[in-house]
Structures are given as C-alpha cells and as structure tokens.
Symmetry: C2
Subunit: 481 residues, 2 copies
C-alpha cells in the first residue's frame, strides 16, 4: 500500500546544511510525487470501480475513469463480464500496476530531466575519479531501490549496474563474467580512455537504526553483524576469483556501503592498506552531517575531507590500486551527496520514513528496469533463472504475503530483461529467457497461481536506450487466462 | 543395456587404409573393452545378487562378490535389510553405476595412457594450426560422447571443451561468455603465444545413414535438414553476438561437423569466402576414405589434400581469419584421423554398430566429466541450471524411459561440475550448484523420484587436474533416503 503523497509544505524552509542541494531535492520530490501519484491513482480508481462494478453501464464508466485518471484503458472483456461475478480485482490491480510501470518508464525522460541535470555524481565524475563501471549489489529489499538518484545522488547510466540480491549476497561467478566482459572491452579499446580506468564493485547492506531487530535485513534475520560480514565475504571472494584467474592485481576495486533504511544515511567501509574491509570501521554520513551542520560550505567540505583523511590514517592506508585520490574523491562525493538525502528525508518525511518496513507495490525479477528509481516501490531480485534466484524470490513472496495476498490482492511480478540491439537475435533470446523465468515463477508459486493470486508479466528493454518497456506478447495473452 | 564386449579377433587383420593407425585402434579398443567391461560387470553382479537376495548369508556373499568383481563395496544397510522385501535393485544399480564412473575416472590415467600417447591431434598440433581453444557443441545424444578420442582422434585437454545440448542447440550467451573469458586471458598474456591464436567453435550435428528417419537427432525429429540448419543458425548467432559487441573480426572461427552415428564417419562444412556455411556442401570422410583406399600413404594424403583444395575452390574461398593454412591443416587432420575410426568400426563393429540407436547407461548433467569418453555410455546435457537445460534433460529422460524405467530400473543422473582450485571458494560454489541442480532434477522428474526411479548423485572435479570425482556428501546422504 502506498502512502498518499504528502502535500508540499510552502512555509519558509528551515535553513539546512550548507552542502545540501535544495533545488535537487525539490526536483526529486516532484519526481517522487509524480510517480507515487500514478501508483496511488491506481488504488483510487480501483476502489471507485469496486463500488460500481454491478451497475449497468459499468464497462463504459470504468473505461472513462481509467482513461481520465490513469491514462490507459482496461481490458474490455474483463469489464464486460463484471456483471456476472464482479470484477477480478486482483487481476485488474496487477494489470494496472504493470501499465503504470510502463507509463513511468515511458515518461521517465520528462519526469527525471530535472534531477538528472543536477546530479552531482555523473559519468564525467566517476570517469575523472578513475572508474568506467559502477557495479552495485544492494539487497533486493524495496527500501534500497532508490539507491542511485536518492541515496547516492548518482546518475543512472548504462554502465552503472544495480544487481540486487536478498541480503546483498551477489553471485560471484556472474560478477566475474560481468567484470571479464568489461575488462575485455577496456583492453580492446571499446571503453574510451579505458587504459586509466577501473571497475568498481560496491556491496550495499542495510539496517534500521530505530528498529534494528525488526526492520533490518530479512535475509539475515535482521542481524546486522551477519549482513555486514556476509557482504564482506562476497567482496573478498570476487576479488580472489579474479586475481586467481587473471593474475594478482586484476581484481576490481571494492567498497562496502551500509544504508540506514529509516533515514537513508549511509556508512562507507573502505578497504585498509592490506585490502581488508572491517565490519565496524566506517565513515557515517549522519555523523558527518551533524558535525558539519551550520558551517559555511567550504568549511563543511574541508571538515568532511579531514574526517576522511583521519579515517584513512586510522586504517593505516587504503587499498585503492594506485588511485587513492580518485577513490577518496568518489567516497567524499557520496558522503556529501548523501547529506542532501538526509535533509530530503528530514523535510519530506519528518526525518524518518512513516513506513520504515516493507511497502512495495510489485516484484521485479530479472534485470533492473533502468528508468525506475523509488524507495519501497518494488522489490528487486536480480536473476537469470528462478533456480538460482529462488531464495531471493521467496523472500519477496513472503513480503507480499503480508502486503497483498492477505487482503486478496495478487503477487505482481514484472519479469524484465535487457538486450543489446546491436546483437542480432539478442532481443528474441531475452524474450525467451523472460518467458522461461515467468513460467518457472508460476511453477514455484503454483499455490498462489492456482488461486489467481500471482500475476506475472514479461517485458524487455534495450540496454542502452531502454526508454520503452516492450511486452512479450505471449506472456500477455497467457496472463489473461 | 550394454552389449557384452566382443571377443578380440586374433585372426590376421585385413590390410586397411594406408593412413589408418592400427596401433591406435588397438589402444582404443582395449580402452573400450576395459571401460565397457566394468559397466557390464555391474549388470552381471546384480543379476547374481538378485538370485540369492533371500539367502541367509546374502549380505556377506554380496559384499564379497562386489569387491571381487566390481572393486568396491555395496552399502551395508541396503544389503542387511534385503531379507525383508528384497534388495532395491534400482537403487543398487544406480549406486553401482556411479561407483563405476568414479572408478573409470580414477583409473583413466592408466586406461587412457596408451591412446593418449598416440593421438594424432593434440595441444601442440592445434596450437601450430592457430587455435588456443576448441569448443565443441555436439548433440547431447550418447552416440556422440566418444567424439574427441574416437571420432576425431583429438586429445581431451583442458581447453578442449565439450558442451553438449539436445540438437546441438548451444546457448549463444553462455558461449559469448566463454569466448570472452578466453579472449581476455589471451590479451592479458595468460595464453602462451596467444597473440597468434584463435578460438574455434565447432557445432556437431548427427544423422543415421541406414535409418535416417528413425535414428537421426531426436531433438529435431530425425529431420537432418533441420538439424543442420539449426546448427548453422547458432554458429551465425554466436559470430554476430561477438562481432557486434567487440568489433567486426573479433568473432571466433567456426566450423560445422556432422557425424553418421551408424559408423562414425564425419562431414565437415567449411565457411565459404563470405563466411557462409552451406547445409549441403561438405567434405565427407567416408567418401574420401573409399576413394583413397588402396593407395600408398603419401598418395592417399595427397588425394585428401587435393580434394580439400578442390572443395575450397568450389566454395570460392574460405573464411579463415587469415589462417587458411592452419584451418585446412586441422580439417585435413580430422578427415584423415577419422579414417582410423571408420576402420575401427569396420573391424570391431562390422562396419556398423550393432545398436545404432540409444543404449546409454546414465545421464550426465552439468559439465562434462573430462576423463570419460565412450560412445553410448552416457547422455550428456551441458547446463548451469535445469531451468535453462530442461529441454535437454527431458530428451534424456524420454530415452531412459525406454532403456531403464520400463523394466524397473531408475533414471541415473550424475550431476557434475568442475571448479578451479586456484580460486578460493570455487569448489564450495560448484558443490552448491550441483546440489541445487540435483534438487531441481528431482522436482522436475518428481513422478519418477516418488517411485524410487530417479537416482541423482552430485560430483565435482578440479578443472585442470580432474583426475578424481569428488562426491558432494550431502547429495549422497539425501539420495540414500
């Protein structure tokens, strides 16, 4: 269930932290309201339809309302048969969600242009700091699905990947393959200026500062220590796998970030001189925000920089593959960028989200939809097959048991894969993969499917452009039955 | 069901083709007899056990017989409880098969040393001819599982991969990843002399010359045209995927080979000057064998060479990425090497296998067991997940319905993955993958599993050494229930 978008306060804003970009926050807030508004409209329209589903002119009424409030039509035959036993509300709800996702993707160019123009960390920045690819593995948890533009103020871009797994337990072998592909592109000159650039892998765990035992990471039983330790182990395994295959020093740069899902503050764990990442040693953005609050911009900037330097000294140095300055610049930029997010939550969510737990609207399985970024809007399981991603999907299904199924709504799963338009046949293979995954999801959750409480839709989008969700037609017609 | 090994004929051998290596044939025949003998002994011992399973000292008798005839013990508790309702013969049969596979792998060093020393096409040869990796995708059909040492007389080696799929319909995306890994190794200097070397992808379809409509490729409904066309399409897709990602000319060298599963003769389809592989244009080893039969070695060699040159002229040239001489040398070597296999089948199988259809003893799923090479000994489905490899496994299960299940024996599936010992954690992840695949197989064939007619065992082996099958212990204890 989505909270209704809060009315924008027009009173004089309190003076904030000097390093906060209030304009960017405005852009993001407008974006959040727009997108959440679309999803809220779905519930609103469906409630209205429910109240008039047995009226004689229901189909016409419903269609008019949907077009007017949602901007798309509803399946005519579903409406026409409503007089018999009412509308299948679970199916209609899922259908509207999928349409709304497609709509939000289609309008992302417009919706996101304001904040995209103001993002402090974009392709030019991370290239200047020495990185050609940013590979994030947050938890699948919906509360992390605003990671890029909101929490880290980083531009979503073709080589910024978000591959979410329950508990941030990313697949080491798949990551090695992703690194290998980019490394080969780099060596063959496909990455401009690639000679000086590296691949950055970031694992992102999360915790809840106000309810650590209930609202932490479900995959780790809300045991923060375990979540952090497991993420560190995966990062080490990835480095070792690459180093042991392609020679010492080949491994990508790694970094660990923690997110407080109550308020979106972050912790950054840097690898010390020996390359070790420590569970309890990190820089905390909330602490830095508070300690530099009230300072003029330059002084605050300097305070963060000094804190960072002190931290590196305490660590005894930094494993940055000869790019200490670049890595520190990136980390400093993320810490400062996050000040804006802390203030965003302060201003628009009273310093702590009203819903600190799960509140997702749907599950996304497969590859991330590159144009959709919103906290708690969807649960995202990065996977190639249900067989490998079953644990991630099971966590998602459990969440929706509480959110939807208990009140008669379905588990809506958007299966999404991207393809490279330059590779002939790639689109067709992505569609096939999507259909296969959808079938496996129906098999895994057959108890829900049989009760009409699982709705699964398959879409693909082009990897570079990605501005349109293309529905796999077979899946659509299958889902209609 | 395995045919009993034919007694070696000690009469004076008929004079054969001058280019045939009769000594190598002897080595291979001894190997075939040794390995088949082990599997035949399993059936023999089980029949004996069946006849005495209700005798008072059955457990002791059985153990003695097994140790003596098979070289390993049987599970004591299975034997001890035989007096109640008899031995679970399906379980015992599967257990013995798995033990025999492990035994054959363990003794491969000894068993294979004779033929390995005499293989005409080994690592030095294919490197001299310009290739660092040979990536074969034959059909999963058991009749192709002697491809390397028998049909192509090519040494099984670490970078000679056999990735079998029903209908030779290999996974393009996985192949791109495999190529990418090797290409990166090549560019980073991990492949000695790699600067001059290329990756060769060979798709291998099959047909039956004597029963084309019944004993062709099951995945293509024994429609040879379709089998050839589908293989060509995959090769083209692979080339396009690489070329479109890494630049024109990056794609690996490709080749198409057809195998007549009646007699192991081969057809080689070369890509013409424009890179096109033609369905109906190929060099046929049986034709060349016959036309050069009776010639002295030098003349026969020359005849093959001339035929090859004529063929290339007819094709209007060859797409060999600047390595025409190397590719032709390899193709010529395979054609001539296959003469020995034609004669092998002539001598030891009367020119045509007694069983031209399926006669596999077990299914291997996952990655190939690098030390096991025998026609019709196992059906091999290369896969990472059952979700992706389901079609391949289904074909295998259908085959074993006829071979085993109808007479009360189980579908025995060996799940096997390799790992790189230099990568910490890789072994553990390979075991986990194996256990996951085994679980998915049990779920997919739950009707068989519930009737005790599916026995699945998980093993891993080190990729380079690979001399021991290591059982995943969990799987063993699970399978015992």
């Amino acid at each position: 269930m989505q909270a209704a978008p809060a009315a924008r306060t027009h009173s004089t804003p309190q003076p904030g932290h000097a390093l906060v970009d209030a304009d960017l926050n405005d852009c993001l807030h407008t974006y959040e309201q727009r997108v959440r508004g679309r999803f809220a409209a779905v519930l609103d329209v469906l409630r209205t339809l429910s109240s008039c589903q047995h009226e004689r002119d229901f189909a016409a009424q419903a269609q008019t309302l949907a077009l007017q409030k949602l901007g798309f039509e509803l399946p005519t035959d579903w409406l026409a048969n409503a007089w018999v036993a009412g509308v299948d509300m679970a199916a209609l709800h899922a259908h509207c969600l999928f349409q709304t996702v497609a709509q939000s993707v289609q309008q992302a160019g417009f919706d996101q242009s304001c904040w995209r123009a103001r993002m402090p960390i974009g392709p030019q920045q991370w290239r200047d700091w020495g990185y050609h690819t940013l590979d994030f593995s947050p938890c699948a948890d919906g509360r992390l699905q605003a990671l890029l533009p909101f929490i880290l103020r980083t531009t979503p871009a073709p080589h910024v990947w978000v591959k979410a797994y329950a508990g941030a337990l990313f697949d080491v072998e798949h990551d090695v393959a992703d690194w290998t592909q980019r490394e080969l592109e780099r060596l063959t000159g496909a990455i401009e200026g690639g000679a000086q650039l590296d691949y950055l892998k970031v694992a992102v765990y999360h915790y809840s500062s106000s309810a650590p035992c209930e609202q932490g990471c479900a995959a780790h039983g809300s045991l923060d220590e375990q979540a952090v330790q497991a993420a560190i182990e995966r990062l080490v395994a990835l480095q070792m796998a690459v180093d042991n295959t392609f020679g010492l020093g080949a491994a990508p740069q790694v970094l660990l970030i923690g997110v407080d899902t109550d308020c979106d503050a972050i912790r950054i764990h840097l690898p010390d001189a020996s390359g070790q990442i420590h569970r309890t040693r990190f820089l905390d953005s909330a602490t830095l925000y508070r300690s530099s609050f009230g300072m003029p911009a330059a002084a605050a900037q300097q305070a963060v920089q000094q804190a960072l330097q002190r931290h590196v000294t305490e660590l005894g140095g930094l494993a940055a593959k000869g790019n200490e300055a670049g890595l520190l610049a990136l980390v400093q930029a993320w810490l400062i960028a996050n000040f804006s997010q802390i203030e965003y939550v302060n201003r628009h969510h009273a310093g702590r989200y009203a819903v600190i737990g799960h509140d997702e609207a749907f599950v996304c399985a497969g590859e991330a939809v590159p144009l959709l970024h919103l906290r708690n809007q969807f649960y995202f399981a990065h996977l190639d097959t249900v067989e490998e991603g079953a644990a991630d999907l099971d966590v998602g299904a459990r969440i929706f048991q509480g959110l939807n199924v208990q009140r008669g709504l379905a588990l809506p799963v958007l299966v999404h894969f991207t393809y490279n338009a330059r590779v002939p046949g790639a689109r067709e293979r992505a569609v096939q993969r999507g259909l296969r995954v959808a079938q496996a999801i129906r098999a895994r959750f057959s108890d829900l499917a049989e009760r009409g409480l699982l709705h699964c839709r398959v879409a693909v989008s082009e990897r570079q452009a990605g501005s349109v969700l293309e529905w796999a037609e077979h899946a659509v017609s299958a889902a209609a039955h």
